[in-house]
């Protein structure tokens, strides 16, 4: 990781102190009590996993040099997100990986290089320490892949029933490259709408992992840090108008945000939208619409027509963008609306969801 802590080189911060250890199997209220048990808990789980120089002194805040940040660009980006997924572990990831990727992606879609993250956890007493350790290690490994450091954090333990096992909040700071200008209001007629691969995997995985349907189908979350992919896109297509990760509410929600934000119409073709057969089948069974399923490794990009080819080539050259495809275009007709030509050849509006998507009775 390339960020530099204020203390680097000043004194022996690189000298690792001996870290405390937790030697009981479950989290208890004592681990949030402010005493030795809490310090051992933080040492064992988080300091050990995340060890880096801004974090090591365990001050109440992480400190960074402004000059070091300025090397990456000319504006700061700052974001926060909370993660409450159930189950905590699912095929293709866990809450820890999600908590890093989600915040990294929220920074990256604004054209920022993600640099520093915070991590605050709220743990229900009785959760296994091994599970916590696993989640912390998963966060650490994902942070390495994403090129970010977790530099400050907080731990709270709450009584049984006060939260559902484990909630994580991460906030993140990134620096936006000079000259990059992305905005939901910038889409223009004739721009192309591109997605970086199959949609709905994460949403279907979580629903399936909850086990209500007891389907033995293997679906994997697409959870991934996309800063590299987005960097490649912006390099190849510098006039890219807008990028957003299609998380809660899925593709349909992002498209509607663009249509309203830019006061344009969006035309998409259902036949172009990449969805795995297994996810389509899952949705057919449950009466769900994959256009609204959450993704954790997918972005919707609006690119200028004359840069579309370069954008697609750059995206497809990246491991997280192999299946990138243009699914539609921006138009000046019907501003504020998303219109889809269906597989059958009919046309319909694609609107935002009113509430949660609920399975249909018949």
């Amino acid at each position: 990781m390339s960020g530099e802590g204020e203390g680097k080189g000043a004194k022996g911060a690189a000298q690792r102190r001996k870290l405390g250890k937790v030697d009981i199997p479950t989290v208890t209220m004592a681990h949030g009590g402010g005493g030795k048990a809490m310090h051992d808990f933080i040492d064992d789980l988080f300091v050990d996993a995340f060890y880096n120089e801004p974090l090591a002194p365990l001050e109440d805040q992480a400190r960074f040099s402004i000059d070091a940040l300025a090397r990456y660009g000319d504006r700061l980006a700052f974001t926060t997100d909370s993660y409450v997924v159930s189950p905590l572990e699912f095929p293709g990831g866990d809450i820890g990986k999600l908590a890093i990727c989600g915040t990294v992606n929220d920074l990256a879609v604004g054209g920022a290089t993600p640099l520093y993250l915070s991590c605050a956890v709220i743990v229900e007493e009785g959760v296994s320490v091994d599970l916590m350790r696993k989640v912390a290690r998963s966060m650490a490994a994902t942070a390495v892949e994403a090129g970010v450091e977790v530099v400050t954090g907080d731990t709270k333990v709450v009584e049984r029933g006060a939260c559902d096992k484990l909630f994580i909040n991460t906030a993140g700071i990134g620096v936006i490259r000079a000259g990059v200008k992305l905005g939901v209001e910038l889409a223009q007629p004739d721009d192309l709408v591109i997605v970086n691969g199959v949609l709905g995997d994460h949403g279907a995985t979580i629903l399936n992992a909850r086990g209500d349907m007891k389907l033995d189908t293997e679906i994997f979350s697409d959870c991934a840090p996309l800063h590299g992919l987005i960097g490649a896109l912006l390099e190849a297509a510098p006039n890219t108008r807008f990028i957003r990760d299609a998380t809660r509410g899925g593709l349909a929600t992002v498209l509607n945000e663009i249509a309203r934000g830019s006061e344009v119409g969006i035309e998409i073709r259902e036949g172009q939208i990449p969805i795995r057969a297994v996810v389509r089948g899952f949705c057919e069974l449950l009466g769900l619409d994959p256009l609204y399923l959450a993704n954790e490794g997918k972005i919707v990009c609006v690119v200028a027509k004359d840069e579309a080819e370069a954008a697609l080539a750059a995206l497809r050259a990246h491991p997280y963008g192999k299946d990138s495809v243009a699914i539609g275009h921006v138009t000046d007709e019907r501003p504020g609306r998303v219109v889809m030509t269906t597989v059958l050849g009919g046309r319909r509006i694609v609107d935002t969801l009113v509430g949660e998507q609920l399975p249909r009775i018949c």
Binding site: M213, E284, P335, V343, R347, R348, C362
Partner: protein
């Protein structure tokens, strides 16, 4: 996806649309007025909107979205009863997902859940029975909802509970039957429906004979139709063929699923557990004789209506609601004064705005692209973060 994609083939759809257009030209009636074809089932309505089927049909054909959405026609008083049962201590109230959001007079099941009631979404009544097995100290209630399609699985679950001697399971029975509703619509004044797409999945259970009266007494064609888009286009074409030749018969487009005689064991299970009510209240249509079922005396101990005291009140729809007229095809959703103003998917007032299968919700969500009035004017737009104004559709 095998056995699905074959029924969504755009080339075959185009061929059917052309055949439909050719038939429309042969039918004299539609030279002066549209042809009204009612799809009875909410599943049809959903598919029609999802695939944009209306946008492919000739202008002379008006699809009327019928009463076959069990969530839509559920009266508000029954939702209140559900909430009252769900809020009883030691009750686990189980329901199909899309019934959670239906507003009662004070709250929906979703709101009752948020208030602390143990309301759980299940995919089958057998899931409820498992919950009863796993929670012997709780009373598990299943919200039985739907037409003859879902009735057999509920009946078999009650029989299973009896066979296993499970005592802490009961059924809040709101099952309804489609035939009296079709009859009520045909008898309503001002109704103009030229033909019907019959409900495929109901027919899989009851067979085709119960529809004979539609042809014999009302001289209208009815084609039992499947739910894939090509099924629906094919069903419309079959109705038009009858209209073009001046015939009125009951036909079965969905023969790959629907046997003429229905499903014997399913009908037996229904008859064993349920009997007809004298009348049942339908949201939007009012009380219809013999249109609902209740549990027979022999299964009284599994009957939530007898186990729990519920308010059992009839709550009238708001006066301005014109759901009944929409259901009968007398007006289109956008002709209703409330549509898009006081009644939206976010704050539904009438039955048809409640479920995604309701005609008003479908018009509101999917619209007919060709009939849209601009949502945003350039320069007069809402910008980011602000919800758009109510969706408007030109009559």
């Amino acid at each position: 996806m095998k056995y699905v994609d074959e029924f969504r083939d755009p080339e075959k759809a185009q061929t059917l649309v052309e055949k439909i257009r050719a038939l429309v030209d042969q039918i004299d009636a539609c030279k002066s007025r549209p042809l009204y074809i009612m799809e009875v089932c909410g599943g049809h309505t959903h598919a029609i909107f999802r695939y944009g089927i209306e946008s492919m049909l000739p202008e002379e054909i008006e699809l009327v979205h019928g009463p076959g959405c069990p969530v839509c026609v559920l009266p508000m008083g029954r939702v209140d009863d559900c909430v009252a049962i769900a809020e009883t201590p030691k009750v686990i109230f189980t329901t199909f997902g899309d019934a959670m959001r239906v507003p009662g007079s004070s709250k929906s099941l979703l709101e009752a859940k948020a208030g602390g009631a143990d309301v759980r979404m299940v995919y089958s009544p057998l899931d409820s029975l498992s919950l009863a097995r796993d929670n012997p100290d709780k009373e598990v209630v299943f919200f039985g909802l739907g037409f003859e399609t879902t009735m057999p699985s509920t009946a078999l679950t009650v029989l299973q509970a009896e066979a296993e001697g499970i005592e802490n399971f009961s059924l809040f029975c709101n099952h309804i039957t489609i035939i009296p509703a079709i009859k009520a619509i045909l008898d309503a004044p001002g109704v103009q429906i030229d033909g019907f797409l019959g409900p495929g999945h109901v027919s899989m259970v009851i067979g085709n004979a119960p529809y004979d009266f539609v042809a014999d007494q009302y001289d209208r064609p009815l084609v039992v139709t499947g739910f894939e888009p090509l099924d629906i286009l094919h069903g419309i074409w079959m109705v038009l063929e009858q209209l073009a030749s001046g015939e009125a018969r009951i036909e079965n487009q969905y023969s790959r699923v629907v046997p003429d005689e229905g499903n014997g064991p399913a009908l037996e299970a229904i008859a064993k557990v349920f009997e007809l009510r004298e009348f049942f209240e339908w949201r939007g249509l009012g009380s219809i004789d013999h249109s609902g079922v209740k549990m027979r005396e022999a299964y009284a101990k599994y009957d939530a209506e007898r186990k729990f005291s519920v308010p059992d009140l009839v709550i009238a729809d708001p006066k301005a609601c014109q759901c009944g007229e929409v259901l009968k095809g007398v007006i289109k959703p956008y002709d209703c004064k409330l549509f898009g103003n006081d009644c939206t998917p976010e704050t539904p007032m009438g039955a048809l705005m409640v479920s995604s299968e309701g005609a008003c919700a479908a018009y509101s969500r999917y619209g007919r692209v060709e009939k849209l009035v601009p949502l945003l004017g350039r320069g007069a737009g809402t910008g980011t973060g602000k919800a758009p104004q109510a969706e408007v559709e030109a009559p």
